[in-house]
């Protein structure tokens, strides 16, 4: 149930070693897949059946995405692992790289094989330079020594090589096409789609980008079977998922739990709201997902479909818990500052709109705003979302729209009284 997939080795003293990974059935799936080797389409069907959905934010069906790759066409193809993990509130991939790097290595090989890719790049955010990078490098070295990487792996005729790369610390390089540009050595500017990476990935060749956690879940699916995986979660929301719980809780942390677990339970695992205070709001999937009121969250289950229905999203699994001392206008200010700073500046609505939103919120926060400003803010957010080259537009607009949807009165209070309506903040 808990810690069965990505965090399976967490119970050991040195969870990152190959030996400990072996103890948890490590590389058994790879051996099974390579024995034969297994038909590529069969692997993809298995992943589809498991309803493994992308852990990078959008929750897209992994099996379906793999199916877009021209897997049997000749020529170089690539698998790209997105370890850029920059969404505020999210720190699961970092843990994965530190504590169970072999799950990712094994996942890379199997996924790469399934798509006909013989080279995999793992792109880590710049700040992962120390521990996460060193651990995954060490794991790659161990795997190569054990014969899991390189040419003709385990005599199967299958080749796969994996390289770890470090970015320079830009959030936008987590957007998959920005990431591909960055790998090519260019500015991390997201591309227009189509063409999609499966047609035009890196160096003009097909590539598929998956999140670290997505890929690290693959060996378990293949080892324990799609049915087992699916049963861990819910229909259409298979498996367990890592959630990073931060904010006003007693024991923040990263938890691997089955998809569909009630939020209430997860909150309990994190020790509940600090100082026994009242839950006010929760960002359920990283700051780009709209925040939801606490009461609503207490009724919700943690899976993709439930959160989408509540007009938010599971996103990257970064939960930010806020108690009743929280000033939602200030939260909005902080979040908008992040997106303002991280916009790549390529397309007009995002380049110009993120700064504008931030300044309007600041004006309101400073007690100098008007009712028109609230409308302006709402309009600006609407003018960005849906009009940009990549989903950064939505990522910057949704949190503002979300907070306005549920806490507009807090903005109005600022306009009326020039200060926060939240006692502790005022």
């Amino acid at each position: 149930m808990v810690n069965d997939v990505c965090y399976a080795t967490l119970k050991y003293d040195q969870p990152w070693t190959l030996d400990n990974y072996y103890r948890e059935g490590g590389y058994e799936a790879l051996k099974r897949v390579l024995d034969g080797p297994m038909d590529r389409g069969e692997i993809i069907d298995e992943i589809k059946k498991a309803t493994l959905r992308g852990r990078g934010g959008a929750g897209f069906s992994t099996g379906m995405k793999w199916g877009f790759m021209p897997r049997d066409a000749p020529g170089q193809k690539y698998l790209i692992c997105n370890s850029d993990e920059s969404e505020p509130g999210t720190c699961k991939d970092r843990h994965l790289l530190r504590f169970n790097p072999h799950a990712l290595v094994e996942g890379m090989i199997i996924s790469g094989y399934a798509m006909g890719a013989t080279v995999g790049y793992n792109y880590l955010r710049g700040e992962f330079m120390k521990e996460p990078f060193e651990r995954i490098e060490e794991a790659v070295r161990e795997a190569r020594e054990a014969g899991f990487l390189g040419e003709n792996i385990l005599g199967s005729g299958v080749d796969f090589e994996m390289h770890n790369l470090i970015g320079a610390g830009a959030y936008i390089c987590g957007e998959e096409t920005g990431l591909l540009e960055s790998i090519e050595g260019k500015r991390g500017l997201p591309r227009n789609k189509p063409p999609f990476p499966a047609q035009y990935g890196i160096y003009g060749r097909p590539a598929t980008v998956n999140n670290t956690e997505t890929i690290a879940s693959v060996p378990t699916v293949m080892r324990r079977g799609a049915d087992w995986f699916l049963e861990q979660g819910r229909p259409n929301n298979g498996g367990t998922k890592l959630f990073c719980v931060s904010g006003h809780v007693n024991s923040p942390g990263v938890f691997e739990i089955p998809l569909g677990m009630p939020f209430k339970e997860l909150l309990g695992m994190a020790g509940g709201v600090r100082d026994g205070r009242k839950l006010k709001a929760v960002i359920p999937g990283g700051t780009s997902m709209p925040a939801l009121p606490g009461e609503e969250m207490m009724e919700l289950d943690m899976d993709f479909d439930s959160l989408a229905k509540a007009k938010s999203g599971l996103g990257s699994g970064g939960l930010v818990v806020m108690d009743d001392t929280t000033d939602m206008v200030e939260v909005c200010l902080r979040i908008s500052r992040f997106y303002y700073a991280e916009s790549c500046g390529q397309c007009t609505p995002c380049r110009e709109g993120t700064g504008w939103m931030h300044r309007v919120i600041k004006r309101i926060y400073q007690g100098k705003g008007s009712y028109d400003d609230i409308e302006l803010l709402e309009a600006a957010a609407g003018q960005i979302a849906g009009h940009t080259i990549c989903a950064f537009g939505e990522a910057s607009a949704w949190p503002v729209q979300g907070i306005l949807r549920h806490w507009r009165h807090e903005f109005e209070h600022y306009v009326e009284h020039g200060r926060s309506m939240v006692e502790a903040a005022a």
Partner: protein, 799 residues
């Protein structure tokens, strides 16, 4: 499946705003809209550049198979599909466009009243249609520091809307990648990274591309408003492309030059040389009235008096010995001017008329007609090319642009010269040889080629190869040219200037013939081909009849008593400036027709007649592909200056020559066209026409060079802004490291150079691009005027 059974497979039908259009599969919505006059607002899109879809101004509503797209899509990159329905005016589309416009304007200074782009600004225009009356943005606007991009392009980067057209132009067309985006988000700035400016020979195009007033024309800035100028179509006066341009003028004064679109010639681009040289029209040394020498003094005259005096002098020499008169004519003079001068000279009884000022070697007599031997536009589809003695990038910038396209598409573009050049794309092969060895290199390529195509031994080739065997590089060049479906073998400016140029031309022709390639020969000037057509060459009349006059080179080597000099400065424009000047100084009579008057002219001339400069004269240029392009004059020439054709016409009358009653240049044009059409396609030159004996070479330290890009003619040399670019200014004699070491010269040393005459002092450069024992020193740069032949022996002394 096609909606319409009649429809060809590669066609689809789409509906835009209720009207149906057929278009090719793979086209984008904006292409179909543009082709059919449907307006879609845009900033970043440009048909000649890749589309980043970053401005988001072109968002439109799309429906496919009855299903509406979830969000508006950028028309500039969205490919059409059969049955697609596009709405550019739906509420959602228009609101998306308005919203983008609002974003673009929030940080734009809106300083239109003081902005040069005002009145022709894409942002201003679209803001009228899509902007709000009152801004909702009350924050402080972004201010961006400006960068000095050099003397040609002015920046006001606060106005930039980050469309990246300029960046993409320099990446994709100019190939120099001199601009990029720095920083990110709202702080994104367009800049050069290193503060070194923009040096592409095509840099001015970013001004036309910039939709706002961020990049503007520096010399033109603040001198006129777009709406007060009249536009006059004309043709670029500096190279063999004949780029189509417009002069923008106010009351007869040219304020700026912009390109006109002509896909067959210059597409939408022009070279900086064509854009900025107009400043030369207003140079301080423009001659205002006819002047004549009177002892030691110069006397102003009226036209009648001046022309009568000229006619008298010419008649006098002609009466004694007409072959003592020689006429040197600019290869950038108009067809009409060249033709009338030719007729004047022949009327006087002399065949000594020549436009080939830079042709050092005339042993090949009726050397091949200049020209490209193929359409300019087709050069972008060649599979291989060999450029001999041609720094095409500077000599013919827009031909280089086409060849670059071919090269980027995988064609083998190859070169042979006395140095490697600064290309803006990678050549497949760049052979470098000492000037004495160029013929040998060509002969080895020809030998390799003959073997490859099974032609056996080519008669006469041994004299050039000396029995040496072709190397792998010669074989590669040969094979690529032969294997190419379409190939071009072309000689350039440096071949003209070469003392053994006749051998090089014959060998180039041989290679072209063996390879089945197009054969081109391009020197300097906008109308060198025209000069040949007009009969302004000593061996051929305008009707094609053979003649036996003396070339410029011959009338320098064997000076005449009387010279007629039309629109040139021999010290810069002849292959051997010093010798040309000596010949003029020694002559009894020198009549100069020139827009300018220089100290040098006052020394050698007897009468100087002011003629119209570029823009002030109607006429025709024939470009490299043989395209006749006719243009009108913009305004009256300044002062008392007159269009040269008019002056020649009056002179013809004064000399009582027949058929000189032309009323307008088109009458001259029509007459010449008639003569030309009757001649069929003249063939000439080739391997058969090679000199009897190969030129022996200098065997010593040799000066080699070409004509500097901004030194090709009197007009551009007076283009003040161009002269401040790094491509102009003081010459830097350049040596190979080995030769420099031998001579004890270091990079940056001041050295003194002479070619038998007075010496000049210049700062040396050392560059491994050079062949050994060669001093690269182009013509047309400061400090080279007193020197001898551009190709010839030279002495160097450290100072």
């Amino acid at each position: 499946m096609s909606a319409n059974p009649e429809q060809p497979d590669d066609q689809v039908t789409i509906t835009i705003d209720g009207a149906e259009y057929q278009a090719s599969k793979g086209a984008t919505i904006i292409e179909v809209a543009d082709a059919n006059g449907v307006d879609i607002p845009r900033f970043c899109y440009h048909p000649k550049l890749t589309a980043p879809a970053n401005c988001r101004m072109c968002l439109v509503d799309i429906e496919m198979n009855g299903k509406a797209a979830p969000k508006p899509m950028p028309a500039c990159i969205t490919a059409i599909g059969d049955g697609m329905v596009v709405r550019t005016e739906s509420e959602r589309a228009v609101s998306a466009q308005r919203n983008v416009m609002e974003f673009l304007l929030i940080n734009h200074p809106l300083d239109c009243p003081i902005c040069d782009q005002g009145g022709e600004c894409e942002l201003q225009d679209l803001a009228l249609g899509y902007g709000r009356g009152i801004s909702r943005f009350t924050e402080r606007k972004r201010v961006v520091d400006d960068e000095d991009l050099g003397p040609l392009v002015e920046t006001e980067m606060t106005r930039c809307i980050h469309c990246t057209r300029c960046v993409r132009f320099l990446d994709e067309i100019a190939g120099t990648s001199e601009l990029g985006a720095l920083h990110r988000g709202e702080h994104t700035e367009i800049g050069t990274f290193v503060g070194r400016g923009i040096h592409s020979e095509l840099s001015g195009n970013v001004i036309d591309l910039c939709p706002v007033g961020a990049l503007t024309n520096k010399p033109y800035r603040y001198t006129a408003r777009a709406w007060e100028m009249l536009s006059h179509p004309t043709v670029g006066p500096h190279d063999a492309i004949g780029s189509n341009i417009s002069l923008h003028q106010v009351r007869g004064t040219v304020k700026r030059v912009v390109p006109r679109n002509n896909e067959a010639v210059n597409e939408t681009w022009i070279a900086d040389r064509d854009r900025y040289s107009y400043q030369g029209i207003y140079a301080e040394d423009r001659l205002q009235e006819p002047i004549a020498r009177d002892g030691d003094k110069w006397q102003a005259m009226d036209w009648q008096e001046a022309l009568e005096s000229v006619a008298g002098r010419l008649k006098e020499v002609a009466a004694q010995d007409p072959s003592q008169i020689a006429a040197w004519v600019s290869p950038s003079a108009t067809l009409e001017e060249q033709y009338l001068l030719n007729r004047l000279m022949r009327g006087l009884g002399s065949d000594n008329v020549d436009v080939r000022l830079r042709q050092a070697d005339t042993r090949d007599g009726d050397s091949p007609s200049p020209g490209l031997g193929m359409p300019i536009a087709a050069t972008e589809d060649v599979d291989a090319a060999l450029l001999v003695g041609s720094h095409t990038r500077h000599d013919q910038p827009l031909l280089n642009h086409r060849l670059r396209k071919a090269g980027l598409n995988g064609a083998h573009i190859m070169a042979l010269d006395t140095r490697r050049h600064d290309w803006n794309y990678e050549l497949s092969e760049e052979l470098v040889a000492h000037p004495d060895q160029l013929a040998r290199e060509l002969a080895l390529i020809a030998a390799a080629m003959a073997a490859y195509v099974g032609r056996g031994v080519v008669e006469g080739l041994h004299a050039y190869t000396g029995g040496a065997e072709p190397g792998d590089n010669h074989k590669r060049v040969a094979q690529r040219l032969v294997d190419a479906g379409s190939a071009l073998v072309m000689s350039g400016d440096a071949v003209e200037l070469h003392q053994g140029g006749a051998d090089l031309r014959a060998l180039t022709a041989l290679i072209a013939e063996l390879a089945g390639a197009h054969h081109g020969q391009l020197g300097t000037g906008a109308n060198a081909f025209g000069g040949w057509i007009a009969g302004a060459v000593p061996y051929r009349g305008a009707d094609g009849s053979p003649a036996r006059g003396m070339s410029v080179a011959e009338t320098i080597a064997d000076p005449r008593r009387c010279y007629v000099v039309v629109n040139l400065e021999p010290e810069h424009d002849c292959f051997d400036g010093a010798a040309a000047r000596r010949a003029l100084e020694a002559a009894e009579t020198v009549v100069v027709f020139s827009p300018y008057v220089t100290e040098a002219m006052r020394e050698y001339a007897d009468v100087i007649l002011p003629i119209g400069a570029f823009g002030e004269t109607a006429g025709t240029f024939v470009n490299a592909e043989g395209r006749w392009q006719t243009f009108a004059g913009v305004g009256r020439p300044i002062g008392e200056a007159r269009p040269a054709w008019r002056v020649f016409r009056v002179l013809g009358n004064l000399l009582s020559l027949d058929r000189f009653e032309y009323n307008a240049p088109d009458e001259i044009h029509a007459e010449l066209q008639g003569l030309w059409e009757r001649q069929g396609n003249p063939s000439n030159g080739g391997w058969q026409g090679r000199p009897a004996e190969p030129w022996l070479g200098h065997g010593s330290l040799v000066r080699a060079g070409n004509t500097a890009i901004y030194g090709t003619d009197p007009l551009v040399r007076r283009g003040e802004a161009l002269q401040r670019t790094p491509h102009a200014g003081a010459a830097r004699p350049t040596l190979s490291p080995a030769t420099a070491q031998q001579l004890g010269v270091n990079d940056g040393d001041w050295i003194s150079l002479d070619q038998g005459g007075p010496s000049v002092r210049l700062q040396a450069s050392v560059d491994d691009a050079l062949a050994d024992s060669t001093v690269w020193l182009p013509a047309g740069l400061e400090g080279t005027a007193g020197l001898g032949p551009v190709h010839g022996p030279i002495n160097i002394q450290r100072t």
